[in-house]
Amino acid sequence: MNIVILGCGRTGSYLAKKMVMEGHQVSVVDSNRTSFALLGPDFAGELILGTGIDEDVLIRAGIENADAFVAVTNHENTNLMAAQVAKYTFQVPRAICRVEDPARQEIYRNLGLEIICHTIWEVAKVDEILAQDK
């Protein structure tokens, strides 16, 4: 698969390395050059410097031939906009997007985006752990 990942933080860099290891073609986009250090010196994917809501940057990252787009920057509105650009402008088959706010997850899921909300997962996990003590 051709995968474009937006945001080279903890999640983005970890995901990128895993996807490369599994044999996928990966490009990572970040607006901050130093973030790419998290990928390590041996990373075999493409690095693209630029803002992920800019169509030209996404084109440079190969979005026109991408099978999946994953938006995991620390700014959830950037993720939401980029994922919509990927899905509706570039018709990427899978556009996955991370948010923090459960309310935004619900709204954008209804609008047809694939959303991951780590807040909901974390709360569920804590709840599950505490439930074991009862």
Binding site: E55, T89, D101
Partner: protein, 225 residues
Amino acid sequence: MYIIIVGGGKVGYYLAKSLIESNHEVLVIEKDPQRVNVLNTELGVSILEGDGSDVTFLEQAGASRANVVIAVTGDDEDNLVVCQIAKHKFNVARTIARLNNPKNRKVFRQLGIDVTVSSTELILSQIEQSIPAHLLVHLMTLRNAGIHVIEVEVPADSPAIGKPLRELGIPADCIFSLVVREGKESIIPSGDTMLQTGDHVLAVASEQGEAALRQIVFGEKVNQP
């Protein structure tokens, strides 16, 4: 009308001020506490401190009874999300987003934002509808110089039609650079050039020059923001 403005920077400030003067009910949502203080002392409207793209704050602001939500922060992605949440969660009839990067216009339109604008005046015209949309568009503001590059469409009832430009009393700080006429070659205007209905005029003007231009082309006095 009840109007919620998200973003209390310069655009939000002047927009709120003008809308209050036109007797609209206005609430401004602003993230930065320091900016909130400034707005509180200078504007005297309701200011809500918080993230305008968060459902909680929009709810507190009474978004479900708002007639218009206008997002004028400095980040296009925030403006987009504010408008989408207002529309899809609170069923706000009219959403207006400020575009910082004109390249995003197509995307915003595709994603269902009613109106996108790149200057305070155009937002005002959309709300008040005293000036039909898109007759005057700011193409570019030259930094620090206070000079704007403007595109004006000449309406059918323009008092400027049929007279040579030299007779229109165009001031020195407003220069007509190009006249684009549909189906014809573009004209670099001289004093003898005469405007026609539907002409697009590209002009370079200072603030005062722009006001004069409005008067010349639209025949009306427009309040300075």
